[in-house]
Amino acid sequence: MSIEVNGKTYETDEEGYLANLNDWTPEVGAAMAAADDCELTDAHWEVINFLREYYEEYQIAPAVRVLTKAIGKKLGKDKGNSKYLYQLFPYGPAKQACKYAGLPKPTGCV
């Protein structure tokens, strides 16, 4: 599978996750979201950028429980809870946000 952004084609896996991490740009993330009928707001980007930083540091995409806890620690309790994160990413905060962040699907996600 692949996704086309501004005339450039990017390879993805069968679930739409970017094949090559280094291909990612914010435009690619936005295009992936648009394909899911999701418009990315600042609140979305806050989570996406957090995930990219987490990956940069630990080389893994965190499971949703870990993401929720870590967001709470960094951005505050009002954001580090399932309700808030599922409102932003109804298909599952870790799964969906990782996709737009150009990261692999989180380990332990089915």
Binding site: I60, A63, P106, G108
Partner: protein, 138 residues
Amino acid sequence: MSEENDGKKFMFVNRRAPYGTIYAQESLEVVLIAAALEQDVSLLFIDDGVFQLTKGQNTEGVGMKNFSPAYAALGDYDVSKLYVEKESLEERGLTLDDLQHLTWEDEDDDWAEKDSIRLISRDEVKKLIEEQDVLLSF
């Protein structure tokens, strides 16, 4: 959390060098999956497995991803028991200072930061293995 869990005790036994084979990376992957499913998970590093935890790994020459930063995420996954056999370290000329400083935060102790790596002797390894319900060897 793991102490309250009355599920099975899982121990992942790591005894090979981190690169050259895929065992170490695969082990870590399964550990993360088990931890995401909130199982009582501990890791044991013996023989060349102790090299998995060394700091300053650089894989540029071997063409494999340096996955060692992920060990530092184990605390986030509530994996707080990383047992390292003292004799294995000594036989390889290593000390605790050669390993990453890995920590976890204890929810029951006002989130105090505690060390995850516990040095144990060969005799203690035997005892520990006997206490497990499930052993997975990599």
